[in-house]
Structure formats: structure tokens, C-alpha cells
Symmetry: C2
Subunit: 399 residues, 2 copies
């Protein structure tokens, strides 16, 4: 069985963290100078590993093995969230690279561009799997500084460069390793998470329309307070959802806006962004139905209330045979210290799963922290995870 | 008894509405060009009425009667809220002017600057009553465009101009007329409101501190969701306050802010601006106590919760004898169609009440609307109100 080189794995991760270093983490937004430099460096590492490596027209770094025979695709993403951690994405990239080096021929590696969504939603993996049209590329822009994606691609030297698409039948499987980003593994003193499915995210904008008025002269009886209507709705959700949710369902109100937002004015309009996530379609449908019922009920009060669906993705089931392969590798290297669990966050694997058997593996996040520069995983866990990952890739490649 | 000139009252109000005309209302922020022009025009009207008129160093327009004898002070404010109504403030100014014209000597008129708070809080009436220090003037700036108050005063030609202070003992009373801004009079088919007191406003900033985290990977059990903590607190207020409030108490959440405010991030910090108003100190104390109890209880959950007092004004009781004078005048001109009621909004009279007996009188607001360009009162009600007002001023002056 192929043995990974622990020092090489850690050294590559640490080198990658120098691109956009920020405190103990990194700030490496998609197509920033640091990100482009990181992509070029990673392409070089792939070439050193004997892969035919290129950066394609959407910014994906793709290393292919010359010659025939069975192939497994590995990878994740290279860019980071703003002022975020050094391992989110990078870990999966270096695991893939190390598997290619340790196992040799047949292991291909892809860094899917902009998984972190600085420009769009999974544009790298959607491009690779044939789900990204040119028109969408024309339309997208950086969400922070409004730079058009086309301009960013041109600055990265990628204008007019071909986009690589998956070749049907080329790969036996896709493997993505990632930090867990939660504390399930850590709190259970576990080392490996075998991902059963990537949850769906159902996201809504809920708007209440009342009547803006003077907060001193308008009696409580006469008010049509849109803010109060939204507060009451969120209270009902808080009371009702626990009884309807699955064991791992999560639901979140990320934003509440009252208009005009002045202390002495009764809000005439209120809006909230609300989402829930689960891997089970039955749970998703149940919560969606309850939410619609509560909004309709709220809208029969003094304010109108409407619900807009912002997104309803589908859960992405990971391949069952690949889950077994990962479980076998985990049990061999960390007996009894692994868990089958869903991923509450979205990952490129959810798109890859549409075109080939896909698998995801988690390593523990210290304190469950992610999307923050303090994000970390112990060296020991990083190394153990790399070996489990390599074992699983090898088992599929040679199986 | 002095008879008002209805046409003159309406003509002056309509002329005043040409300064910053906006749709059927006005946009006349403090020290805008239109506002300065309105002040100068009004000073001219006071001079035509035989008053010694000036604009003082804080922008107050002040018309004094030459000679001795009893004096009554009348007035309100000239500037408007942004894109707001033509009568808010203006009505009280023209009523004062008309009383001075109809009654003759002894009626003085003051327009207190910036009652609408573009730069500060009641700076005109606080200056007049000795409650505004130079240091505060140095510090204040326009809340929308950050222009320092000193610069605005200089542009209005008022730099270095003396600020007028009330002369103790000079006035028997202060009278302020205003549109009601609510619908109590209209819905009761009443014509005149005799104000018993101006309510106190107790205003708070409530902050919940939790832990910002990933909305997909953080289990419900592990979350410390600051937004949820605030939502639950507001739900408790909604349940508890009706049982503790007085018949006219109002309470309002004007703003809720979740940070960072992204759909997929659990808010680590949440803030709301909350206020209640009542004229009864016992009610105010009861609600304050309950709010503190609920915040303390909320803070024993998963989030820390703190409450900052932004302001706790005191209710300003209107003078009882003056209320009787107004009631007598109202009963004479509109028998059975007047009401003693508190003012839910703040007015300059609350500061004048600290230095002399003060009275306020309301006329109906169509649809209870104010702080909006559709604000209006029927000509008939405007004229009736002017006569009641004039009668009351005259009764005090000659009583």
C-alpha cells in the first residue's frame, strides 16, 4: 500500500499558506494576485508529480495523467474566503497531489475555481461538469468590488483559453477531502468523517409589508408593524421547526432588515433571509410546507407577507461503494474513530456527483471553526487524513 | 374677542409650503437653502406684524413685542422632516403669527430651530431655555451629510450672532399648536386636542453577543445564535408588554441588525433599537423593569445580552390652568368635539415647560399621517384651530 510522505504534505500546505498569508490563516480571494500565484505554483507542483498540468479558461487547475488505464479524479479548491483559514480547500488539493505522488499513474487532480463564491456559485465545478454557460460568465462579477469575471479572467491571462470538461467514463471516482468545519469529529474524539451526502440548502427571502408611521403618535391598535410581523414569524419558526426537523437539520436567519430602520419610525417593510439544510428530501419538503403555512398565517394578520424562494438545491448523495472504501481505509488507520455523517456545507463534490461516483472525507476542525483565520487542524490529524485518503484512492484505482 | 383672518392664515401656510415644495408636501431640512429662505421670510412677516424680529445665533426666529405689559410666547418650528408634510411645525408658526396680528401687543412668536433633529435634539428650544452649551454646538453635525453645525450656521450668516435666551418672568405662558400626527381626533370626529402631557421616550440599544459560525456545519445544539437571542427577546416583549402597559403606551423596535448579515453565517452579534413612550412615570418604570428582567433572562441563555439606555426623557406635563383655558376655547368654538389627550411625539413645548407654564393644542391629521408628503388637515379644521388657539392666547394675555 502506498505510503504518504507526511513532511511533504505539511510542507506543501504551509507553502500554499504563504500565498495571501493573513495572521495564521490566508486571504486569497479568487483571481487576486495571491490566488493566481497559488494556482501557478500548484500547477508547477502537479507537473513535478508527472501530471500534464494546465490552468483552463475558468481558472481550474487540472493535472492529467498521460497514458491509459484506470483513473481517479481528486481535488477541491485553492482560493479562500476573505481573511479565512489555511486549510479550507487547500487540504483537499494537497491530499490529491500527495495521492498522485504516492500512488503514481492514474491519480488526476483538479482545483475547481471559486468554490468560495467570490464571483458566482461553484463556477469551477459547474464548468467542468458542463453546467456553466458562456452567458453566465459574461454576467458574473466580483461580489465585493464588482469586477466583471471576464476582466478577472483576462488579468489572470485566461481570456480565450479553453475550458476543460469532464470526459465521460474517464474517471472511476471523484474524491474530495475537506476540513469538517463543525465539531462533530472533535467532540466525539474521532479522526475521519465519511460523508454520506451533501445537504441541500433551501433559502428564502420573506418580506412583510405594513405601514410606515410615527412611533409616538400611532396607537398599538392601529399599527401595521412589518418588523413585528417578521419577529412573530421567526418566533413561530423557532417553536415549530424543532418538532419537524431531522436530527441534523439546521435553520438560520442570516439577515433581518427593517425599513426605514429609524428608532422612532414604525417599520413599513421588513425582510429576512432564512434558510434550512438537510440531506433528506422528506425533511426539506416538510419544513418548506410548514414555512409556507406560517407565512400564509402571518400574512392574514395586519401585514401582507410574501415568500420568495432564493434557492432549493438538491441533496447530493455520496456513492455508497466509495463510502465503504473510505470506511475501510479509516477503520484500518483509525480503528473505531471514524463516523459516517452528512456535510452541512456545500462542496464541489456535489456537482461532480452528477457525472461520476463521488466521495468526501472530513478531518477534524479544531473548535469546529472555519471561515475564520483561526481555523486549524492538528498536524497529526492532517497526516492521518492524508494516509486514509491515499489508501481509499488507491483501493479504487487498483480495485 | 379677537377674530382671526382665515384667508390670511391659509395664504401664509400655503406660501410657507412653497419653500422646498415637494409633491403636496415640503422638503425643508434645517439650514437648507429653502429653510434659510423660509426663516427670512417668516422674520419679515413678524416684522410686518409689528414685532421686533430677528434670527438668532442658533437659527431661532424670534419676534418680540416692543413695550411692556403681559406677554405670551407662541411658536413651534419651521424646518421639516425630509420629504414630509407642509403643516408639521408650520401650522404652529402661522397660528402664533396670526394670534400676534389678531390680538395685537403682547403676543410674541418664536420658531425653534431644528425640532426635527437634522443636526441634534431640540437645539433651538434647548438654546432658548439655556440647555445647550457651545461645546455641543461644536460637536454636532448633519446626520445625513455630516456638515458640521458650525459650518451650516456660518452659511446661514449666523456665525458669531448672539443666541437669545428666555428672560425669566417675561412670559405668562407658552402655546404651541401642532397637527396631531395620529388619528385619535379624526376617528372620534373631533376637532381639537388639548394636550395633557408630552410623553417621555425611553430608548434602548440591546446587543446580543453569540458566536459567528457556519450556517451549514454548526449543529443547532452547538449554536450561539445572537440573532435568535434577539428574536426571542422581542417575542417576550411582545407577550409581556400588553399586560404591563398603560392604555396609550406605545413600544417600537425600529431597527434590527444581524452581523455579519450573510445568509449562510450564523450571526455572532445582533443589535436592536427599542423604545417605549408614555406620560406616566409609573408605567415607564414598570416597562423599564420588565425590559431589564427580560434582557437579564435572555443573557442567561447561550448569548450574552446587554442593554444600553440611549435616552430616558421625562414626561412634560402641560400646565393645568392653560389646559382649562384651551378647553374653554375649544368648547366655545367646537362644542363637545374636543378631547384631552397626551402627545405621543416630542415637541419644543416639552423644553419650554421647564421655564414657564406651557400648553399644546392639536388639530386633526387626515388619516393620522405625518412625516410624509401626504400629511394634511382640512382647511376648515385649520381655520377652526387657529380661532381656538387665538382665543386661548388672548384669554391668558388679558386674563
Amino acid at each position: 500500500m502506498a505510503q504518504i510522505d507526511s513532511d511533504r504534505v505539511l510542507a506543501d500546505l504551509r507553502h500554499l499558506a504563504t500565498f495571501g498569508a493573513y495572521k495564521t490563516g490566508v486571504h486569497r480571494p479568487t483571481f487576486s494576485e495571491e490566488d493566481i500565484a497559488a494556482r501557478r505554483w500548484f500547477r508547477g507542483r502537479l507537473a513535478e508529480a508527472g501530471l500534464e498540468a494546465e490552468i483552463d479558461g475558468i481558472g481550474n487547475v487540472y493535472g492529467r495523467t498521460p497514458g491509459g488505464g484506470p483513473k481517479v479524479l481528486t481535488g477541491s479548491h485553492l482560493e479562500s474566503q476573505n481573511h479565512a483559514g489555511w486549510l479550507d480547500g487547500a487540504l483537499g488539493m494537497v491530499y490529491g497531489l500527495e495521492a498522485a505522488r504516492a500512488i503514481g499513474g492514474g491519480v488526476e487532480v483538479a482545483a475547481f475555481c471559486d468554490e468560495e463564491g467570490h464571483f458566482g456559485s461553484f463556477i469551477g465545478s459547474r464548468s467542468f461538469t458542463g453546467l456553466l454557460e458562456e452567458e453566465e460568465i459574461d454576467r458574473l462579477a466580483n461580489r465585493y468590488d464588482a469586477t466583471p469575471l471576464r476582466d478577472a479572467l483576462a488579468r489572470a491571462g485566461l481570456a480565450g483559453v479553453e475550458r476543460r470538461r469532464v470526459e465521460p467514463g474517464r474517471h472511476r471516482a471523484f474524491f474530495e477531502a475537506h476540513i469538517e468545519q463543525g465539531d462533530t469529529l472533535e467532540s466525539g474524539e474521532l479522526k475521519i468523517g465519511v460523508v454520506s451526502a451533501i445537504v441541500a440548502i433551501w433559502q428564502y427571502r420573506i418580506v412583510a409589508l405594513g405601514e410606515q408611521n410615527h412611533a409616538g403618535t400611532t396607537s398599538m391598535a392601529r399599527r401595521r408593524d412589518a418588523g413585528l410581523a417578521i419577529t412573530r414569524l421567526l418566533g413561530e419558526i423557532d417553536r415549530r421547526f424543532p418538532g419537524l426537523a431531522g436530527p441534523r437539520t439546521v435553520w438560520t436567519t442570516g439577515r433581518i432588515t427593517l425599513e426605514p430602520g429609524a428608532p422612532s419610525i414604525i417599520p413599513g417593510r421588513a425582510e429576512c433571509l432564512f434558510q434550512f439544510r438537510d440531506a433528506d428530501p422528506a425533511v426539506l419538503d416538510r419544513l418548506d410546507g410548514e414555512l409556507r403555512r406560517l407565512v400564509a398565517e402571518g400574512g392574514r394578520g395586519r401585514c401582507e407577507m410574501t415568500l420568495d424562494v432564493m434557492g432549493q438545491s438538491r441533496p447530493a448523495k455520496m456513492d455508497e461503494r466509495l463510502q465503504e472504501v473510505l470506511a475501510t481505509a479509516a477503520e484500518r488507520r483509525a480503528p473505531g474513530r471514524w463516523l459516517v455523517m452528512p456535510s452541512g456545507a456545500g462542496h464541489d463534490a456535489q456537482y461532480l456527483a452528477r457525472v461520476m461516483p463521488a466521495a468526501m472525507m472530513f478531518v477534524p476542525s479544531i473548535g469546529g471553526i472555519s471561515h475564520h483565520w483561526t481555523e486549524n487542524t492538528s498536524d497529526e490529524d492532517i497526516v492521518l487524513g492524508a494516509q486514509v485518503y491515499c489508501d481509499a484512492v488507491e483501493a479504487v484505482l487498483k480495485g
